[in-house]
């Protein structure tokens, strides 16, 4: 019984994590649009280093720092992919590129 209850809690948390990850991805898309209109590069490794340092510093739970960093590296990689796709879509719709 206890196991089942705990699993239900885990399922609920996973749903929350997924909602938050997708919310983060949407904001990342908005940042991609802002970068595209300001002609700023997608990948910003120094900003990413700051994020990684920050999340590891704030980690006080059971998850190891290496695991936190690895999870965030994957999140950041997906953000770059989303922003590259935003830039690509905008570039394709521009008709005057080779005039």
């Amino acid at each position: 019984m206890k196991l089942e209850e705990s699993r239900k809690k885990i399922d609920a948390i996973d749903t929350e994590i997924l909602i938050l990850l997708n919310r983060r991805a949407e904001i990342s898309r908005e940042i991609g649009l802002a970068k595209a209109s300001a002609a700023l590069p997608v990948a910003d490794p120094r900003r990413e280093d700051d994020i990684l340092r920050c999340v590891v510093r704030e980690n006080e739970g059971s998850i190891g720092d290496d695991a936190v960093a690895e999870i965030y590296r994957t999140i950041l990689q997906e953000s770059r992919r989303i922003q590259v796709e935003v830039q690509r879509e905008l570039a394709i719709t521009r008709q005057d590129v080779y005039k």
Partner: protein, 180 residues
């Protein structure tokens, strides 16, 4: 709707050649390599293909020319395209940070002098110039750069670290528009 197969992805020189020949509304089918490009045309998945056949610095693009000869396809148009290679990297990347440079094998050959003068840059062969730029941006490491067009750098959100790095600044590639 007519579809044109190119080797590589949007932002490649083949895409630029296609747009210059067929106009900006040309629909593009991105193919992984020359074999897939010709196969798409043979199988009528695409109506046309645009492929590079000669470059001023390296001469004949053998992989494309041999497929063109063996497939006996019609050359419908020819376009000499000015090719200006840039060295693209991630945001904030400095030249001294770089350790690898990725690009299509022909583009690497066209930048031989630059690469010989910078032996610290390990050459990595990518499928095409534009996907090489895309890949280094998605990897997001300051140590990685790619050689491609300005259009590719802009399309995939890369920073231009150096411009005009080909051996000959007056660099041209001839493209063929081909059909069945």
């Amino acid at each position: 709707m007519t579809l044109t197969a190119i080797q590589g992805v949007r932002g490649s020189y083949s895409e630029e050649a296609t747009i210059r020949i067929l106009g900006p509304s040309a629909d593009i089918l991105e193919c992984r390599d020359f074999e897939e490009t010709f196969a798409a045309l043979s199988a009528k998945k695409a109506d046309f293909a645009v492929v590079p056949v000669r470059n001023k610095i390296v001469g004949e693009i053998e992989a494309a020319v041999s497929l063109l000869q063996s497939n006996r396809m019609k050359v419908l148009d020819e376009l000499p395209l000015r090719v200006k290679h840039v060295l693209a990297g991630c945001g904030g990347a400095r030249f001294e940070d770089l350790q690898t440079v990725r690009s299509h094998v022909e583009a690497l050959k066209q930048c031989r002098r630059f690469l010989t003068a910078n032996p610290q840059l390990k050459q990595v062969i990518g499928a095409d110039t534009a996907s090489s730029v895309r890949r280094i941006v998605e990897e997001g490491a300051v140590a990685n750069a790619a050689i491609g067009s300005r259009r590719a750098a802009e399309m995939y959100g890369a920073t231009i670290i150096l411009e005009d790095i080909a051996d000959d600044l007056d660099n041209w590639t001839t493209f063929y528009l081909i059909g069945n």
